[in-house]
Symmetry: C2
Subunit: 597 residues, 2 copies
């Protein structure tokens, strides 16, 4: 059964105890972000997710979106839910007050996003894409365009999209063919075909603001000749009201493995009127502002669905009676024990739990650094926060989505045959989770981003805001009476990451294919170590809380300690073979001729 209760206690733990309230309330504009203010917001978001969005998740999967003559109908209930969503102010949560937003920090926003994705990934994509488009416009559009487009987008009355992919190019956008011909009035006429456009057409918003990558007539070939354009579905009158339909329309939707309630559109632009965003031929830069927002959001999708899968698995593991505990019947009154008594089921559940809580901590850490990078008065601190975010964006995107899918698969396994049929809804998690490993740059591309652009940037500067605190933590805690026993194995894992970093830096300098050959394993190694660090910090916080007499919540903190230990014992050792693979290099991988495959 699809069941979901937002993990509010753990979210509070991450925001206020693990990452800590202090660094949040120290930021200009965040002075009031104490639990008094943030907890009720999270509780409201939880209600929305659990009561409005979750019940629509299966409905959306079964009905899917329907395309007819250029119009896309979302599944039953989506319109009403979207209306409630906008009216509740959820579209404006993190947007700047300048454009009608509430200006709340990412530290809060990311947790709200997690709930939405856990309850209904398909639904979350509609406002999610708008958020990305909002960021791109806010940073790169002219004041005039911002004034026209941002307020209704923040209200949710208009939604956003990103139009990158074309049939022959996805990762390699340098190949794209969509044309933008300048007009005398300063606008452009956009012509071309795009595919895989999430929310490209739907019936939730009054207007759709497409951000479209296209090429001007005199643009240089390849990636350096791409510009970004704003192309609305309906042209906008000077008073902000909707004018005539623009030449942008959906020509079909995809039939997909999952996220069936999300309209994935084929788009046709036929001399559609558009406006340049940012500088000519610098479209990729503007698009990356959007893409980085989206990449973190997609990571959180993985976390959300991973949490929902975990909870649904726990529900079944407590309910399904099958076999007896190997240590003697636990429920002799029943025909059999619930399967949660079996170690192999525990192994699955603990694995999912350790991944999810670790990923939540990582997302919380990155969200806090985003807040710092955007708000801190200290330029040095802002810079290090920006470096950290740049470094961690591909890690969050790839790691959290890989694990979301793995968790969904574990949940299916716990349900056994009942997980493979539609009735319980867990196979939907598997199908929905799979896309997140692909879109906004496949996870392989994330890995290349990490080793190619982030690892070596500015002589390794991006690595420092991660490596330094981790080193210091190990030094400070290696003899800790309580967690010291876990710090030793962790230091080994961190050592593997340091060795891998040095190895790739050297080998990749001589031969970039060596970096490419190591990329995926390096990203996973990075992620595993980052989560290990956060688990140790969580254990430290838990020990302190228990020592300070947190008796009323002793169970919560003890679970943290058990899960931290599980992570260090059972998951962190995976660091070793990743280093071994990296050190093996590209030779065996590249030895075979193409034709021999």
């Amino acid at each position: 059964m699809q069941t979901y209760q937002a993990p509010l206690r753990d979210m509070r733990f991450v925001m206020h105890e693990l990452i800590g309230t202090e660094s949040l309330v120290a930021l200009p504009g965040c002075e009031e972000m104490t639990p008094d203010l943030t907890d009720p917001i999270l509780e409201e978001a939880a209600k929305l997710a659990q009561e409005v969005l979750l019940p629509l998740n299966v409905v959306g999967d079964i009905e899917g979106c329907v395309y007819e003559n250029g119009v896309v109908r979302t599944p039953t209930g989506f319109k009403e839910a979207y209306k409630a969503f906008c009216e509740g102010g959820w579209t404006s949560l993190a947007a700047s007050a300048e454009w009608g937003g509430q200006g709340l920090p990412e530290s809060l926003n990311k947790q709200v996003e997690e709930m939405l994705c856990a309850a209904n990934i398909s639904f979350s994509l509609y406002p999610g894409l708008t958020q990305g488009a909002y960021h791109a416009l806010r940073h790169h559009a002219s004041q005039e365009l911002k004034e026209i487009y941002l307020p209704p987008m923040v209200e949710g009355r208009w939604s956003g999209t990103m139009n990158l992919t074309e049939p022959h190019c996805g990762t390699d956008l340098g190949l794209l063919r969509t044309k933008a011909v300048p007009q005398e009035d300063g606008s452009y006429l956009i012509t071309g075909n795009k595919i895989f456009i999430s929310a490209g057409e739907h019936d939730l918003a009054e207007n759709i603001v497409h951000l479209v990558l296209a090429r001007m007539p005199d643009a240089p070939a390849g990636i350096k000749g791409i510009s970004l354009f704003l192309v609305p579905k309906f042209l906008v009158n000077p008073d902000g009201s909707l004018g005539p339909r623009n030449g942008a329309k959906a020509t079909g939707i995809e039939h997909k493995l999952g996220i069936k309630a999300s309209a994935t559109c084929q788009m046709s632009f036929d001399e559609a009127k558009g406006w340049l965003i940012g500088e000519p031929n610098k479209g990729m830069r503007a698009m990356f502002t959007m893409m980085n927002t989206e990449r973190l959001a997609v990571g959180v999708q993985g976390l959300g669905v991973g949490e929902a899968a975990y909870q649904s698995a726990v529900f079944y593991a407590k309910e399904r009676l099958q076999g007896r505990s190997l240590s003697g019947a636990k429920h002799p009154d029943k025909a059999a024990d619930p399967i949660i008594v079996h170690p192999d089921i525990r192994r699955s559940l603990m694995t999912m739990r350790a991944w999810n809580e670790g990923c939540r901590a990582l997302a919380g850490w990155v969200a806090r650094e985003i807040d710092i990078s955007e708000r801190s008065n200290d330029p040095e601190r802002r810079q290090s926060a920006e470096d950290f975010t740049a470094l961690m964006t591909p890690v969050v995107k790839a790691l959290l989505t890989d694990l979301g899918f793995e968790n969904a698969s574990q949940a299916v396994q716990i349900y056994g045959g009942h997980g493979y049929i539609r009735d319980h809804g867990v196979e939907q998690y598997l199908r929905d989770a799979r896309i997140a490993m692909i879109y906004e740059g496949t996870n392989g591309i994330q890995a290349l981003d990490l080793v190619g652009r982030k690892m070596g940037a500015h002589m390794g500067r991006f690595l420092r805001p991660f490596f330094h605190p981790v080193s210091e933590f190990i030094e400070a805690n290696k003899d800790d009476a309580q967690i010291g026993v876990l710090v030793g194995p962790f230091a080994k894992g961190f050592g593997a990451l340091q060795l891998a970093t040095g190895h790739i830096a050297q080998a990749g300098l001589k031969d970039p294919e060596e970096a490419g050959a190591a990329a995926t394993e390096y990203l996973r190694l990075f992620g595993i170590v980052a989560l290990g660090y956060l688990w140790l910090r969580a254990a430290k916080v838990a020990n302190a809380a228990l020592a300070n007499g947190g008796a009323s919540e002793a169970e919560f903190y003890k679970s943290k300690l058990a899960t931290a230990r599980f992570y260090i014992e059972r998951i962190l050792p995976q660091a070793a073979p990743l280093l071994a693979g990296i050190k093996a290099g590209k030779a065996a991988m590249m030895a075979m001729e193409e034709a021999a495959f």
Copy 2:
């Protein structure tokens, strides 16, 4: 695109070079199983798979089976394909000549099965279940029942099923409730409900022979009170013609994640006439004969779909143009290089390839030992072959199906967004592959079987036919001029397996939960080491062939060497964290209270 060419060269390699023709032709009844005889059979099977079954794979997925008023209609083309399948003699391939079969060895049969599963898992289930039922009846039914039922089953005119699962019990069959009331004529009246019955009802065969687990009125509680019954869909007249309909009918079919062309039925038995198979209350024993056959067959399903996924991924990786090689453009005449030039794509393809070929070798080894256990004149050799098969059955089932799913997921990833939509057919592999990890005993159950029943059986006797040849191989080859460099790392992996075995044997003796906590990791460790051993043997064969001037096939053998090296360098190191996890024991896993999940 779903594309599949049966890997005939690799199948020949496994059968004749790696496992070797000698041990096959030495068996009574197999004297003629030289390549002259086996190659044409494999070629015919390949044609059937590629030309008849593969084109129906997508059709079956889209149409699915349709249930109406107790009748199940298979998708378009399945009836014709099944007819061709029977007429081609494929249902009788491995059946004994005594019952109209061709008596061909498992060494050949398993390779044919792989092709069928690669082309169309759903289709393969119909004859596959019949094979399992054939084995159970052949070993446990009375001569009279065998004479009535086996010949038409071998012909494929009648098909078979296994009816185990009930709504409230799958793994824990001790809970089952279906009743069998003895009648004066020696038959029984069977009443109860079963679910998840593959091929429980369909339109391919004239009659369906259900093997049904049920409980007699005076039977002991639990697993020791279960008997096996033969319950035909149509009663059979003394002359073998079909009589009236029996009280066994399908009441519905499941809507599933995948294998949609396989009818997964809910069955109702309402005083259906049945006959006891084997002894009263010993139904599990008889069922296990069937189940072991099926478990190996399910493993081969994983391999088949993994191979099809690999080939479909290779097809796309050679065709999709995106980006340039990091070592300089490989196809400067094209707009971009095919993605197979990128190391990260290579990593995926090599991983899939190393798994598939390793798994094919393992399946080939086990198949050969089955042949030996059934045919050898040497009782000691027969015993060791039987021990080996018992040991390896859970490994083959769980490892090959886990990897089949992983490979399907890798294939989706290589296709990117194009893998997530239906058009290319690779997402079907993901959906189809997922069931194999579940049915015939979930992979967690396989792991418990390995550590609980197989590892310690007869003081570790089952382990010997694996551990002894591996130890000898290491000793004999550690200084080999060519493969010696790979033997060192392999010996480390094997050492991890030995340590893990000793650890579990000791810890599990004191506390069976410790064995349960280690089971899944132990099975994977076992599988990884077994494949490593086979990869080293393959490398040895390849080196010898190259030295003997196998110039015309140099590419084939060189690819073996490259893939062997890739396996040892990139995959085998995964042994280390598995041992670490096993040694960590159950403590962290079992620490939390049920309520804390």
